[in-house]
Symmetry: C2
Subunit: 216 residues, 2 copies
């Protein structure tokens, strides 16, 4: 089996980082073997030697970048114990992403996956890393609420991740609009967390209503 020499590894890593830089800074439309190689400081043809095609490089870069980004936030996500903390962390991540752009990168790849079928699974996988972390937090946070039984952490995690990608893309064309969107979500979170503060009678009333309108 391939010994994977140090030199090969080095070039591959350069290309992966170059791909991430190019995607975040110039978008999927301007990402090519040439632009990535330029960012990586290597010959353009090495993309094809090491990864077979541009698409496969981007797929590999997606896995690589998503793992890096998620691991950067993993500890802080693990420390979250309430909905309001989660919302505050979401806001903090947004601020950091404004510079790093790791989430918007998923948006670029999501957009690119339309054309490059090979990107679909890789992008879904990258998003899944985020979803898994978010789901873990939601399970923990929602277990402590009186209405946890009516929520689906798995689906909710997917909704949160997809929405976050949407907001990060939106941020690119309307920073003020994205900020007000996050403000509104924060208010909404406060509203939901207010439910936790209800007395037993009111909680029973809400639960009753939920059971009545529950589908499936």
């Amino acid at each position: 089996m391939s010994p994977e020499t140090a030199k090969s590894q080095e070039t591959k890593t350069k290309l992966l980082k170059g791909a991430l830089r190019t995607l975040t800074e110039h978008g999927i439309a301007k990402t090519s073997a040439r632009t990535v190689a330029a960012a990586a400081g290597v010959n353009q043809a090495l993309v094809f030697y090491h990864f077979g095609s541009v698409d496969e490089l981007l797929a590999a870069a997606c896995r690589y970048g998503a793992e890096q980004a998620v691991s950067r936030y993993r500890a802080r996500l693990a420390a979250v114990t309430s909905l309001s903390e989660l919302l505050a962390l979401g806001r903090a991540i947004h601020e950091e992403e404004r510079a790093g752009g790791h989430v918007a990168l998923l948006g670029q790849l999501l957009a690119g996956a339309q054309t490059h079928p090979a990107l679909g699974p890789a992008t879904a996988g990258g998003l899944q890393l985020w979803i898994d972390e978010i789901e873990r937090v939601l399970v923990r946070v929602l277990a402590g609420t009186p209405f946890g039984e009516f929520t689906d952490p798995a689906g909710l995690a997917r909704a949160v991740a997809a929405s976050f990608v949407g907001v990060e893309l939106y941020e690119g064309v309307d920073a003020a609009g994205a900020a007000s969107a996050l403000d509104a979500l924060e208010q909404l979170g406060v509203l939901v967390s207010a439910l936790e503060e209800l007395g037993p009678v009111a909680q029973r009333a809400v639960r009753h209503h939920l059971r009545r309108t529950a589908r499936r």
Copy 2:
């Protein structure tokens, strides 16, 4: 001022429709003067004659397509009077968009706006058409709820629109995941609407909690 002959108009319209088709079917990465012109059935150079550049054509197509898409849903949005109705309509729109792809198109343009600065304002404008409609609905729906004073329809509309774009892009790489995300949001909507059913005492308790934790 330019009489804008019938022939010119016809070619322009062909190009606009071709641009929309190309963007939705092949994504921003594979959208070029050549591919759009092929879809439109006209000579590639006409892109530059009629619109000056590919970017300007895409910007025009964005305005054109967003106006068409929003007007298609406007009547149904105007008929919404409750949160649960809004969620049901969101689900219906999602089903239609699965085929039409008008929302995912905004995702493609949002992704493209990173590279092509000219696309930014146009895409923001296209999204704004959706946001305006959603905001109108939210104002109406939230005014009828006991907690309307704690929500910001303008920000919430932006959040909803951006999230919807994110979910539509996500749908492209994981249809089942997107479906479960929408299910979860629907549940969440039911949870919030359950608040409307609370008795006066519980409502006062929730309001008190909200005032206590309200920011700004």
